[in-house]
Amino acid sequence: MVEAGAWWTLLAAPGLLLGFAVLAVAGDAVLDARSAGRPVSLATAVRPFLGVPRALVAQPRRMPAPDRLLWRTGVITVPVAAVLSTLVIPFGNHAVADLSVGVVWFNAMEVLTWAGLWLAGWGPNAAFSLIGGYRFLAQGLAYELPLMFALISTATGAESLRVGDIAAAQHGLWYAVWMPVAFAAYLAGVLAFSFLGPFAYPVGRDLAGGVLGETSGVDRLLLQAGRWLWLASGSAMAVPLFLGGGAGPGLPASVWSLVKTLLVLGLLVWVLRRLPMIRADRYVEFAWVVLIPLTIVQVLVPAVVNLNR
């Protein structure tokens, strides 16, 4: 069973999350080097982090009539929400706080990025940046409901909103196996709320970087960190929700959690390079006409199974 509330988890959870995010960035850099025809070595993997000290001392950006307060609030919200979301994610047999409404907590933190990104796009007072902020909302309206139904499927299956209960309720038969639609919708949702790869629409190159276009220095570092922290957090949450949590033969639970999280993270890093950016004007209709009905039917499956039990 999941133990919650040990003091060291408060430090360990953000640390682990950061570690996963760093690994994801490094993995992406290695894949990048391979397709660019550069030699791949350990140095390749750490090169993206060369810019971090620079970001900390960079000159702040000057814009005409920015809304600095809201801009800063938005930029900070994204990574902070990602870290807060890990409170309810059990790693092995430990969680910071195994809330009775853990799934809803995770969802609420994820929705905070809506506000964060919109503010980050609004603040600098630049057209492309603002359009980037709007784009995330359009994307949000598309991915959010399928993601919610995916989360509800697992909660319905376990008859609990507590993430620890959901992990325990799988009894060796992972929800990923008998709720594949929910699992797929969830993974797409993870990429979408990290606005990476196919869901990089709010920061598209066609908008000269969109929300990221006018940020520099610490602001930019925070937003970029927020993206990868969300990817890591989403991968970690996939383990208790769909992959049986820390359960597994032989090894300790925390090792299983680690292995499973890394596998999901690796899969997502690979996938985000294999697809072009999906524009919300196409994705919204697909999400509402195809994904939402599918995920609703998916919720029906565990509901019926539980009724007949």
Binding site: P64, A65, P66, D67, L69, L70, W71, T73, L99, S100, V101, V104, W105, N107, A108, V111, L112, W114, A115, W118, L119, W122, G123, P124, N125, A126, A127, S129, L130, Y134, L137, G140, L141, E144, L161, D281, R282, Y283, V284, E285, F286, V289, V290
Partner: protein
């Protein structure tokens, strides 16, 4: 209720009030929207501290989505990025004052008129379950009716608001495929 909870309750309550006041004193639509959001998030916190974690977190979740969408609608008609014209958020001051005064008085009266039970003794173990039970068992008919009414309202409002109808999309004989839309959707209808 422990000391921590009492302190949290007071802090969140005061913050909610402060953000609520800011809604009427700030003069940028974006800031007003987000201070309203902040106030509602504090209310979500208060609800959680009062022992209804599900409702509290759901308030935060729903209000973030709702307020952001509202900001979009308000600002969609004024696309000036952040350099928006300063403008007052106060309209119909006298009427609003009367209405809010009456509502406030009614709510305060409610505090004293409702026969509260001794909460410590009867606190259910899982309030989420109680809420679900209340909504989905005793009030099932209300919820179903309410759900359909809301959905019908949304669909009807959208239909009334768009000037393009099916004849514009599918032609006079409704046989034109794919539909004639300014921008194609993702399913190719």
């Amino acid at each position: 209720m422990g000391t921590t909870n009492t302190v949290l309750l007071v802090v969140l309550g005061v913050l909610a009030l402060v953000f609520g006041v800011l809604v009427f004193t700030l003069n940028s639509m974006a800031r007003v929207t987000f201070s309203l959001l902040a106030a509602l998030v504090c209310v979500g916190g208060v609800t959680t501290v009062l022992g209804l974690p599900y409702l509290g977190v759901v308030i935060v979740l729903m209000m973030v989505m709702e307020m952001v969408v509202m900001a979009v609608f308000m600002i969609a008609y004024m696309m000036n990025p952040a350099g928006l014209m300063p403008m007052s958020m106060l309209h119909n001051k006298r009427g609003a004052l009367v209405i809010s005064g009456v509502v406030f008085a009614a709510l305060v009266a409610g505090i004293f008129l409702v026969p509260w039970r001794d909460s410590a003794a009867l606190q259910p173990r899982d309030t989420t379950f109680q809420v679900g039970r209340a909504l989905m068992a005793e009030q099932m008919l209300t919820m179903v009716t309410l759900g359909f009414v809301l959905l019908a309202t949304m669909v009807a409002a959208t239909v009334l608001a768009t000037h393009r109808g099916r004849y514009d999309r599918f032609g006079d004989d409704l046989d034109q495929r794919p539909a004639k839309d300014p921008a194609g959707g993702g399913v190719g209808r």
